[in-house]
């Protein structure tokens, strides 16, 4: 299991936001801008040692804390 607190901490520290919930869309609520998504992808690849394919760069995988957690779990289960 990955700890969603790690994702939350990264978002809070990188984008200086305090209040957001697990299902808030990063892009629609303005928590992260479009270039910020690249920072998120780089963080996930480094921290969880996964490789994210271009076709996986979609909102369903990346656009909220819960989507990110689910996606990273899936990637890791496939790698294992």
């Amino acid at each position: 299991m990955i700890d969603d607190a790690d994702i939350r901490r990264f978002i809070a520290e990188t984008f200086f936001v305090d209040d957001f919930s697990a299902d808030d869309s990063f892009l629609q609520t303005g928590i992260v801008d479009s270039t910020g998504m690249m920072e998120l992808v780089a963080f996930l690849e480094n921290k969880y040692l996964i490789k994210i394919e271009d076709q996986e760069l979609i909102p369903e995988n990346l656009d909220s804390v819960s989507n990110v957690c689910r996606f990273v779990e899936y990637k890791r289960s496939k790698a294992a």
């Binding site: 984008f15 200086f16 629609q28 303005g30 801008d33 479009s34 270039t35 910020g36």
Partner: protein, 658 residues
């Protein structure tokens, strides 16, 4: 070009009053010495005192101010230029005996003949005040786009005005305190809205407005606004005829702005607009034009190659000032001293250095290309507006949003999947075309800076939303304009008049007593642009189509084919890490930020650490936050403490009584 000040106090005739007002007006004029080092003068009348810092540009010998009409006692102080003063003078000559050649006297004569409505006949850039003892009124007025600044304050002890807020503080009718609402506006809209300044109790007279102070009452009204409604569009105009007409107008606008008793130079950015102005000026001057440019050591900001190309092709005598990352940080305290504002960009800093270069060459006046992007749809924001409209007609289209990749080529190369781009740019797609839709993305981006505000500061605002408040104040008829016209109107009211013409214009030029003249903002050109169909301006996703047509026979092809290149300067590279100036390290420290109390010291500390450790270029969001925090800290340091006015400046002011 100059600085003006004045005070109007409850009526009194005692000699004591006059003595205290002499010293007050002296301090106010001295505070604006940089705007007009050629002569500092003030006149104390019965219930008002007016002062002037003069930069002599027209009628060097006899245009001195304050200027008084002996017959009526009407007295004027004037900053700026009325370019059609020769034509007006001819019209007025039958009714008024002119004593000088100056445009100031033409303004005075026009007021005597027509009253304050005379502003409607002025083609110029001006801020002036007129005292009329016949009915005890004090009139203030400002040019149509807000090229010249004018601030005022009022309270039980009286009314005062000045070209810059620092002179109001020197006058002592208002004490410096930062306005939290103005700051919140700046963090979203890039500058305070048009009635506000960065300071509580210091108001800006909006562009195209007149104020009247009489019997202790103040009234402000607008005398002109650019009408961009569909009714204005002239469908019978062909692109060929429109091009010819615009070229003739532009030629005349440049010609009027070359009127001066001193040499006039020009700024050359390397883009289409300033290149076109330079080409016309060079032709009119018969090949003696001097051009001035900023170049950057960092390649991603630099336009040097284009500037040199245009200068060579036009044969101008070209001068460049080169700016390194480290210098921006060194310049920023002086920038804030002059702009009196929180800034989301450091771009004004190189322009401060540039006006210094101009001044060192002995040039007092320069033409610039400002205004063309607003009037002829030059900015990406207009293209974004058009793409969103196109997309909103078929929201489920997978193809239409891909136009954003054409608009922002970095998206296509930066691993931004179409789905993510769609989600980002598709926010609020159902609101396309409503007032503010064009700007919400930009305002949300800059609004991210408010995340760094301290909790205590945010509480003072009580949930106030600067964007909604601003949009609520827009005249309702604008809501019926087409989407691109709405976007233009917002751009003119926020970015152009409140930021580009002030922080990136008048202030950083006048810091070195250099006067900017802006042919594109000749109101005849603005009104002509309003008659053109949008496709003459933004053709598909190609900006400023009609200006390119004019440029074809005058400019080298590489300038015509060039995409709009936004003028920017480094921020993080200048303020943190190896280049960090001493003041930045001090003012951005956690303790210092917390002591000022506006931003959250802990968050700022983390931002500085993040930017110092980064091995990639900073994100726009982080850059903007750093600029805003650093300039606000500078603003607090410079303006919230008492500051002495140099005694040499005070002694240089000549105060007379009438």
């Amino acid at each position: 070009m100059c600085g003006i000040v004045g005070i109007s106090l409850p009526r009194s005739t005692s000699g004591e009053w006059r003595e205290s007002e002499r010293s007050r007006i002296r301090r106010m004029v001295a505070a604006l010495q940089h705007r007009g080092p050629d002569a500092l003068q003030a006149l104390v009348l019965d219930d008002v005192a007016l002062g002037h810092a003069r930069l002599s540009v027209v009628d060097l010998a006899s245009g001195s101010q304050p200027m008084r009409d002996e017959a009526t006692g009407v007295t004027i102080v004037f900053n700026g230029e009325i370019f059609n003063y020769l034509e007006l003078r001819q019209r007025l000559a039958a009714r008024y005996a002119f004593r000088t050649r100056s445009d100031t006297e033409v303004l005075l004569a026009a007021f005597l003949a027509e009253g304050i409505e005379c502003v409607n006949s002025f083609n110029g850039q001006f801020a002036f005040a007129i005292h009329d003892p016949r009915d005890g009124s004090l009139w203030l007025a400002r040019d149509r786009f807000g090229e010249r600044p004018l601030f005022y304050t009022y309270g039980p002890s009286g009314f005062a005005f000045a070209s810059e807020a620092k002179a109001l503080f020197a006058g002592g009718l208002v004490a410096p305190e930062l306005d939290p609402f103005a700051l919140m506006e700046t963090l979203h809209l890039w500058a305070p809205t048009e009635q506000r300044s960065a300071f509580k109790g210091v108001y800006s007279l909006p562009p195209a407005s007149i104020a009247c102070v009489r019997d202790g009452r103040l009234e402000v009204r607008r005398y002109w606004a650019l009408d961009l409604s569909d009714d204005r569009i002239d469908r019978s105009l062909t692109i060929e005829r429109a091009t010819d007409e615009l070229e003739a107008l532009l030629d005349d606008a440049v010609g009027l702005r070359l009127r001066a008793d001193v040499p006039v130079g020009a700024y050359l950015s390397g883009g289409l607009d300033s290149s076109l102005i330079c080409a016309i000026a060079q032709e009119r001057l018969g090949g003696t034009l001097q051009t001035f440019s900023v170049s950057f050591q960092q390649e991603r900001y630099d336009e040097g190659a284009f500037q040199r190309g245009v200068a060579a092709s036009l044969g101008t005598e070209h001068f460049t000032v080169s700016v390194g990352d480290g210098e921006i940080g060194q310049l920023l305290p002086a920038v804030v001293e002059h702009t009196e504002a929180t800034l989301l960009r450091t771009a004004p800093a190189p322009l401060l250095k540039l006006s210094g270069l101009v001044r060192n060459h002995g040039t007092k006046v320069v033409l610039t290309g400002e205004g063309a992007d607003e009037l002829f749809l030059g900015y990406d924001l207009y293209k974004e507006t058009r793409v969103r409209q196109f997309w909103a007609r078929f929201p489920s289209s997978r193809i239409r949003p891909r136009l954003f990749e054409r608009l922002y080529p970095y998206l296509a190369v930066s691993r931004q999947s179409p789905q993510l781009i769609e989600r980002f740019f598709g926010n609020g797609l159902e609101q396309v075309g409503t007032l503010g839709d064009s700007h919400r993305l930009r305002w949300a981006n800059s609004g991210r800076v408010s995340r760094f505000l301290s909790t205590a500061f945010v509480e003072r605002l009580g949930g106030w939303d600067p964007v909604e408040a601003f949009l609520d104040g827009i005249p309702p008829e604008l809501k019926r304009w087409r989407p691109l016209a709405k976007a233009q109107a917002l751009e003119l009211r926020t970015l152009l008049s409140q930021y580009l013409l002030s922080s990136q214009g008048d202030r950083v030029m006048m810091a070195n007593a250099v006067e900017g003249r802006l042919p594109f903002l000749d109101h005849r050109i603005a009104e002509f642009a309003a008659r053109l169909p949008d496709t003459f301006k933004l053709r598909g996703l190609r900006e400023k189509a009609i200006l390119r047509r004019i440029g074809r026979k005058r400019l080298p092809p590489q300038v015509l084919e060039r995409r709009k290149f936004p003028y920017r300067a480094p921020i993080a590279e200048s303020l943190v890490g190896a280049n960090a100036p001493e003041w930045a390290t001090e003012l951005l420290s956690r303790a210092h930020v917390d002591a000022v109390g506006i931003f959250d010291g802990h968050k700022v500390e983390r931002l500085v650490a993040k930017l110092a450790a980064a091995d990639a270029p900073p994100s726009d969001a982080d850059d903007m936050a750093l600029a805003a925090i650093a300039t606000t800290q500078l603003l607090a340091r410079r303006f919230l403490a008492d500051r002495e006015i140099p005694s040499t400046h005070l002694d240089a002011v000549r105060v007379r009584a009438a």
